[in-house]
């Protein structure tokens, strides 16, 4: 059998291909981006696309599924927040063709604004969730997720973490299953979620949940590996690998399907060991569940709730073995760090030099430009999630009055503006805000690696397409003062910012200059 070394994300792409997936969608976001990039590069018979945001990505995939195709939507953990609205209701409608959502959590927040644990979302949305612990399982579980989705009429989430997404390992390569697109069958009681339909669908998915629970108990996704009976460890995701490495003699219950949980298997395992311990990253999701079954166990009393685990952390917690490092510490002088920074010649550098000089309150957003909050610019004062800067800009003006808008701006990237900046701009105009929004248009989704978006004129699959005109869009939102300018001429840029911020009506400055790293 052919074998290849693949990244977790590449293995998921391979799994989608082998499962005969027809449509794949995403909005880029570390650590999930390579899934769609791999599909678009290597598996061209899957129709793949970047959507403007994760909500749309999930809805396009849902449409493909309802129409009878196998569909995949991939996103980072905070992306699933954006897509939570369709997720919770497509959970009710169920599927026609298999519908798989890849969710990439980021413990340690390596490239994110928080380290939320999205296992909670599977439970809240009543959607089954699988958790691979290696690249081989990334491929196998993705394929299985399509099968389960069709078998149980549910969307299925595959949850990975940064350490799963960005680790490589050996994967067995199999041929593609040629799955035909099923016909679309109208069924408005299933696909139109009027209250009168949603109520019986809720009853239906609770019945399916019971069947999935039986499956979870029977399936080898949740696997007991008996070893010594003195201690048993329940674990999932990459934590399983650390447990196997540092506790080779203990019994292990490996959780590969984390929702619904396998109650009977947990009871059987707990009854077979003297002491029970749960090792999981982030929240006590499994631990709380085990305790709710009335089974005592240790968990977050010894395993940290914050940040990624490592083999050393697990070794220290379970075996009391410290790993201090055997060599003496170099202490003659400090080792200079390499903090992430804006590149030399970055267009954002010109913008934030000016904003810093004018000492404006800057409501920021998600992108390379968030680095302008750090020295040497120190010119960003709020930032939460994609699109938030414009709404916050308006909220500040509402709290303090129009004079606040005379000393503040909102900044947002081109891709981020399309993702979720348009509706707050409409709000700013509609609710009589007078603030200035600067769109940092560098002609791509720079932070995640220059992915295309609707204003670039190209698709993920490399086709030419209509290029969204940001200037026209902004005007259509009702903004009358719109200036397009190159920030490299900083004197001119400063003059424009002064003028627009002073104007007592909404304005948008499109700061247009291509990312220095783009060809």
């Amino acid at each position: 059998m052919e074998k290849k070394v693949l990244l977790g994300n590449e293995a998921i792409a391979r799994g989608a291909y082998e499962a005969g997936c027809h449509v794949a969608t995403a909005y880029p976001g570390t650590p999930s981006t390579e899934i769609l990039e791999t599909i678009a590069r290597d598996y061209r018979d899957i129709k793949s696309q970047w959507s403007p945001n994760e909500k749309v990505a999930l809805e396009v995939a849902a449409g493909a599924s309802v129409a009878g195709g196998r569909a995949l939507a991939a996103m980072k953990h905070v992306g699933l927040n954006v897509a939570a609205d369709p997720l919770f209701t497509f959970s009710y409608t169920g599927v026609n063709g298999g519908f798989v959502i890849i969710n990439a959590d980021d413990p340690s927040a390596w490239s994110s604004q928080n380290e939320q644990d999205n296992r909670h979302l599977a439970r809240a949305a009543k959607v089954p969730m699988l958790e691979p612990s290696s690249p081989q399982e990334c491929k196998d579980f993705t394929k299985l997720a399509f099968e389960l989705s069709e078998q149980f009429d549910r969307p299925v989430i595959v949850r990975i973490t940064t350490r799963i997404a960005h680790s490589q390992g050996i994967v067995e390569i199999l041929p593609k299953d040629n799955v035909p697109v099923k016909p679309f069958v109208r069924n408005f009681q299933k696909y139109v979620m009027l209250p009168v339909h949603a109520r019986p669908r809720h009853v239906f998915i609770e019945e399916q949940h019971k069947k999935l629970k039986d499956y979870s108990n029977m399936s080898s996704l949740n696997r007991i590996e008996w070893g010594g009976k003195k201690r048993g460890i329940i674990t999932d995701s990459v934590a399983y690998q650390y447990v196997k490495e540092v506790c080779p003699d203990d019994s292990v219950l490996k959780i590969g399907m984390v929702w619904p949980m396998p109650d009977e298997k947990i009871r059987e395992f707990a009854a077979g060991v003297e002491k029970l311990c749960v090792v999981e990253e982030l929240d006590p999701f499994i631990e709380d569940y085990v305790k709710a079954l009335g089974i005592p166990c240790t968990g977050k009393d010894i395993i940290p709730i914050c940040f990624e685990l490592t083999p050393e952390i697990v070794d220290q917690a379970l075996n009391g073995k410290a790993h201090p490092g055997k060599y003496p510490k170099y202490d003659t002088s400090p080792i200079p760090p390499r903090p992430p920074a804006l590149c030399k010649g970055c267009p954002h550098g010109f913008v934030f030099t000016v904003l810093g000089k004018l000492d404006l309150n800057v409501n920021g957003d998600i992108g390379c430009y968030t680095l302008a909050a750090l020295p040497p610019y120190s010119a960003m004062h709020t930032q939460g999630c994609m699109g938030a800067g414009i709404g916050m800009h308006l909220g500040m003006e509402k709290a303090h009055g129009p004079e606040m808008a005379r000393k503040s701006v909102a900044v947002i990237g081109d891709s981020t503006f399309i993702h979720s900046g348009i509706t707050p701009l409409i709000d700013l105009v509609y609710n009589k805000g007078t603030g200035t929004v600067i769109i940092l248009d560098n002609r791509g989704t720079a932070m995640t690696g220059h992915q295309e978006h609707p204003a670039t004129g190209h698709t993920l699959m490399g086709e030419e397409t209509h290029a969204l005109d940001l200037e026209m869009l902004v005007k259509a939102c009702g903004v009358k003062r719109v200036v397009v300018t190159d920030p490299k001429n900083m004197d001119e840029f400063e003059r424009i910012v002064r003028e627009e911020v002073a104007a007592p009506e909404p304005s948008v400055i499109i700061s247009l200059r291509k990312c220095i790293l783009m060809k």
Binding site: Q168, G325, R338
Partner: protein, 189 residues
């Protein structure tokens, strides 16, 4: 099991070096795992890859004190990883310095005694002048493969196995240059 850490800064080719080692190990019949850093690292940060191979590999991360080799493509980057070195492990360090941003701005100094300190405190370390080699190869981009060639002298794989892996992972027009870089690293005195 063998544990190798590749360290460097963004753009030096740390990930490709680890991919070649993984390919060689897999083709020799070993289980292989690796862990790497993406995202923010593209913006000038430190980059490192953990590669592990053996009969069965669980964790993709190498625990502290267990790295058999740390191959550092930049001088001070090795210091960030030193706590991972096994007591009998070996350092292979490129003497080249890439100034971190705080050094460029004058806020901090590039430590001047690193080589001397490592010589006193680490049993098994070699420092490499890659500059003349890279001049002869004709491109600085081959640094990662030169360092891999030096590492290869301490691993069990044959030259033919390494060459096959390089050929399978490098674009055709760069194969010859990389094979030369590998050979010069392997023959380094």
């Amino acid at each position: 099991m063998k544990n190798v850490i590749f360290a460097g800064v963004g753009g030096q080719g740390v990930i490709l070096a680890s991919k070649v080692l993984m390919e060689v190990a897999m083709n020799a019949g070993y289980d292989v795992k690796e862990s790497e850093v993406h995202g923010m690292a593209q913006r000038g940060g430190s980059v490192d890859c953990n590669v592990r191979y053996g009969d069965r590999v669980y964790s993709p991360l190498i625990p502290k004190e267990e790295a058999d080799f740390i191959v550092s493509l930049e001088l001070l980057e090795v210091m960030r990883k030193l706590e991972y070195l096994a007591p009998d492990g070996k350092l292979i360090v490129n003497r080249e310095k890439v100034d971190p941003a705080p050094v460029q701005t004058g806020a901090m100094q590039y430590p001047s005694d690193l080589e001397e300190w490592v010589g006193k405190n680490v049993k098994n370390a070699i420092f490499v002048d890659t500059d003349p080699i890279l001049k002869e190869v004709g491109t600085r981009k081959a640094l990662n493969i030169v360092m891999l060639g030096i590492l290869s002298r301490d691993l069990e794989f044959t030259e033919a196995q390494w060459e096959a892996a390089i050929k399978s992972l490098v674009k055709e027009k760069f194969v010859e240059m990389n094979l030369k870089a590998f050979k010069m690293g392997r023959d380094y005195k």
